[in-house]
Assembly symmetry: C2
Homo-oligomer: 244 residues x 2
């Protein structure tokens, strides 16, 4: 047994890989390494080089550790990615403005700022679950109900709002420069007249993502308020459920 191991080692050494002793031996007791450390490292890598660069080997390298060692702290890569998002979402600010509309608005804008440096999160959040994510949604639901929306309308409201409560809508231009370049490309095509209606609509409209996001959000919130204030009837009579 033992001899076998030694043999293998010897073989490996002769196979050519020089400098076999990594400089990783740090101090004496090696690094403790925790799940959170891994997630922080992953976040850093994703911020710098994109989500595609988050790879077990890369993470190990970033932490001065072999890839497989990570599996003592996470069960698989999926958990890493999910964890990154959960960590981020758990740190979302949750400001309280006065009424429900102001609160939801404030939180969306705060989330927008919070997530801005982490473009990868946008792509992830769409299909994610996770406790902190659900807590966020729970808070929004609470606000809506406190604002006097019916259960049914609250349900609809969540659908309409979508991920906007996290501070973004799902357009093309996701923060990274790759997406940015593609938008430029499309704009050029528009100017060439391939999409006449878009070209017409774009005339004189000065584009500001932040402003546009706020417009859209306000339009939705106002729409919800109006739906609450009575004419919830007409569009809703087809619904099999009626509640207060």
């Amino acid at each position: 047994m033992r001899t076998l191991a030694i043999q293998r080692k010897a073989v490996k050494r002769s196979t050519g890989t020089d400098a076999p002793r990594r400089a990783s031996r740090r101090g004496k007791g090696r690094a403790p390494l925790s799940k959170e450390q891994i997630l922080r490292a992953a976040t850093l890598v994703a911020d710098r080089d994109g989500l595609g660069a988050v790879t077990m080997r890369r993470l190990g390298q970033e932490l001065g550790v072999e890839a497989m060692s990570l599996y003592h702290h996470v069960t698989n890569k999926e958990e890493v990615v999910a964890g990154m998002l959960e960590l981020l979402v758990s740190e979302l600010p949750a400001p309280d403005a006065g009424d429900w509309k102001a609160t939801i608005r404030a939180r969306a804008l705060a989330a927008r700022e919070h997530l801005r440096p982490h473009a990868w999160a946008f792509r992830l959040i769409a299909n994610a679950e996770g406790v902190n994510l659900m807590k966020h949604h729970d808070a929004v639901v609470a606000s809506l109900r406190a604002g006097g929306l019916s259960r049914q309308l609250t349900h609809t409201a969540m659908h309409v709002l979508g991920n906007r409560t996290f501070g973004f809508s799902e357009d093309l231009f996701l923060g990274d420069d790759h997406g940015h370049r593609r938008v430029q490309e499309i704009l050029r095509e528009v100017r060439q007249g391939k999409y006449p209606a878009i070209a017409e609509a774009l005339q004189g409209v000065h584009h500001d993502d932040d402003l546009e996001f706020i417009f859209a959000l306000d339009l939705i919130l106002d729409g919800l308020e109006r739906a609450r204030d009575g004419e919830a009837r007409d569009a809703r009579t087809t619904s099999p459920v009626r509640d207060a």
Copy 2:
């Protein structure tokens, strides 16, 4: 050179792979194979086994061809995936109802039906571009403008509508059974009281994705119409641009 090749072949043959002559030789002139064929095959695979099963080798196998042969018709896998979506979108029905609201509504619902068997498309469409996709958007913009919305409001409208014009909102429950199972899991947690506000709001609300989609869509369309009819002023005075 030539001898070298022969040598290599000899080596390979001795290496063990029996049955080297594939039965793929079809008829005599081999199959023509086109990009569209590849895309159709890819769509079929994705429909059956999910987008993750779409792999060059798998596609080749599906078409009775080696993986590398595909590269004579597409430049890389990215183009395959983009092509799948473009093909699907190019086949979207574009019904014309009377006014702009009815038309957009009808198209969204038609798209919903059209895309329903292709769950993978939902995930893709969010970050995609492509000519046919843009044409779809162009048509929506045209409808909005024809409906009397200002350029600025049209802009906002596109943000608010997002991918809803393709017949879906970006919730968790993407058609595939994997997502379905996760929703069940979350519902169980809700019932366990982890998310009290959601639990409260869910009482007595009977859930129907299609109905809910329509509610949300109508709420948005009505909101847009109201914004058009005048009070576009108050929420919009902050905008640097004013147009008719």
